[in-house]
């Protein structure tokens, strides 16, 4: 290859460096959250839990080009599975996360099997229908899910047998941060694997992908399962950290908010999902405290501004700024 004049390693090394830098940044931001807002750790843990949901949505929307307004179905499946398991004596936190991931993955498979039958708007409507159906199921199966009261009173075992999930939420936060970093790193590998490249191809031109001899369905259904596992872990983390699971975890509203956060942060980059979640939820947290009735108006206005002036989302705009600065800096 070098003989033909292609630079051997530059292009391969750079994304790896970028990944390591993003992971370091997440760890740094997470640690500063821990030191700067010690009284808000339970809120920050919820941010991480929702960030996993938005990351999972990015896999489907940002990498495969399948719009979904029902992603909370997968998040809720993980939350309820972990909650029910915990109330039935499975209290080991890592195991609960795994149970959440498995429940999310299975729900993802089913959701994919239904959604992939359609394209475009009908597909979007199916996603809404699925989350509404699950919401109704969780409401009706009160013996299992607690109905409209939800599940409460879960008492997860201490982390590594040492750190209690206490009122201050330190253990839960650090546990969640660790989970997020590991998941993010694995997803980075995923989106740069051959599988991830095929997904990007499917997003842009399915006909071209089929002309390469690659069938779309097996690829997309696997992505739904992976996405479900990630969302399910987010749900399980929420259940462990807050020790309640409610109907809001499997709602259309949460699904729609997740999509808003993703668009806000920028599609198809993973980092955008994280930035979008943190910005959206921080705004919600601060403004809802000041004016609980009109905070959505402000969020709406910010969104309109972003879609009009920064269509690639916050992370895309940051990238462009960085590129401009670099160009300025050059002699």
């Amino acid at each position: 290859m070098t003989a033909l004049g292609l630079k051997p390693d530059g292009a391969q090394a750079r994304p790896l460096l970028r990944d390591l830098a993003s992971i370091a940044l997440i760890a740094l931001a997470g640690a500063s959250g821990y030191w700067l807002f010690p009284d808000n750790l339970s809120f920050l843990t919820r941010v991480i839990s929702v960030a996993l949901l938005v990351l999972s949505l990015d896999l489907v929307v940002g990498y495969c080009g399948i719009a979904s307004l029902g992603q909370a179905a997968l998040y809720g499946a993980g939350a309820y599975a972990a909650g029910i398991a915990c109330l039935n004596g499975v209290t080991e936190p890592f195991l609960l996360i795994l149970i959440g991931a498995a429940a999310g993955a299975v729900t993802g498979l089913m959701m994919g099997a239904v959604m992939l039958r359609a394209h475009g708007l009908p597909q979007l409507v199916l996603s809404i229908a699925i989350v509404q159906l699950l919401h109704e199921a969780a409401n009706k199966l009160a013996w299992l899910t607690g109905g409209s009261d939800g599940l409460s009173g879960m008492l997860p075992a201490p982390l590594f047998g040492l750190f209690e999930f206490d009122l201050w939420g330190r253990a839960a936060y650090l546990f969640g941060l660790g989970l997020l970093i590991v998941t993010f790193a694995l997803l980075r590998l995923l989106v740069r694997s051959p599988f991830g490249m095929v997904c990007r191809g499917l997003k842009e031109d399915p006909l071209r992908v089929s002309a390469l001899g690659i069938s779309a369905f097996p690829v997309l259904i696997r992505m739904f399962a992976i996405s479900g596992a990630v969302a399910g872990m987010g749900g399980a983390l929420g259940a462990i950290a807050t020790q309640v699971v409610g109907l809001d975890s499997v709602s259309f509203e949460l699904s729609a908010n997740a999509l808003v956060m993703l668009v806000l942060g920028g599609l198809g980059q993973l980092t955008g999902a994280l930035i979008g979640t943190v910005v959206f939820m921080s705004i919600e947290h601060v403004i809802a405290a000041i004016n609980p009735f009109h905070w959505m108006t402000l969020v709406g206005a910010i969104l309109v501004a972003i879609v009009l002036f920064a269509p690639r989302g916050l992370s895309g705009t940051l990238d462009e700024l960085a590129r401009l600065l670099r160009r300025e800096g050059r002699p």
Binding site: M1, L4, G5, L6, K7, A11, Q12, L190, R192, S193, P194, F195, G196, M197, V198, R200, G201, E204, D205, L207, R208, S210, A211, L212, G213, I214, S215, P218, V219, R222
Partner: protein, 252 residues
Amino acid sequence: MSAVFSVERLSKSFGGLKVNHDISLSMAAGERLALIGPNGAGKTTFVNLVTGRIRPSRGAVSLGGEDMTAVSAVGRVRRGLVRTFQVTRLFSEMTPEEHMLLALLQRAGRATRILARFRGDATLRDEAADILATLGLTEVARRPVAEIAYGQQRLLEIAIAMAQRPKVLLLDEPAAGVPSSDTPLIERALERLPPELAVLMIEHDMDLVFRFAKRVIVLAAGEVIFQGLPGEVAQDEKVREAYLGSYAHAGR
């Protein structure tokens, strides 16, 4: 001469309209065949029938003696029936090298692996670089496709097809949209296609057809009206009529 690819009495009607009617042809390995015809002759429908994008009303397509009529579009590609597109269909943010690696990984049966590195295989990277070099695309191998010239994108379509190592290649207007100053590039690329490959070219550019094809089939109003040597096509009365003179003097 055993046929590597054949089409028998392939027909397609939309309602009462016969878009393709009783089209038959067969190709031997290494053959260079061109399919021409005026606009609306049914060429696009023919491509869609052969590649499996639409189902025929009647007739059969076979590849290497195997009946393909019930095989899906993807299945036909996997068995060696590969096409290029009239309007380039490429992934705008990917580089030519990445396109090649996708095609090569798929040929190796590894395109959808999760636990693998996209650039992990040095042999495939070398093969990708080789093909790109053959077509003069080394310079742009690592630039996003959206940033390279249209002529180079057309060459990349051919490069991808070469990476797929087909038995039969369907070239759907390989020179469409290319400025005439660049057609020699396409022509040179076509000359470098493996000699044993059967190539069916659908093309408007008559000069290209006459230089490339050893045999020509003319389609008009969904039917084959001429099969024969390139030199004879312009003299044929039916062909002249079909084109209303527009191409009757071409190739002189």
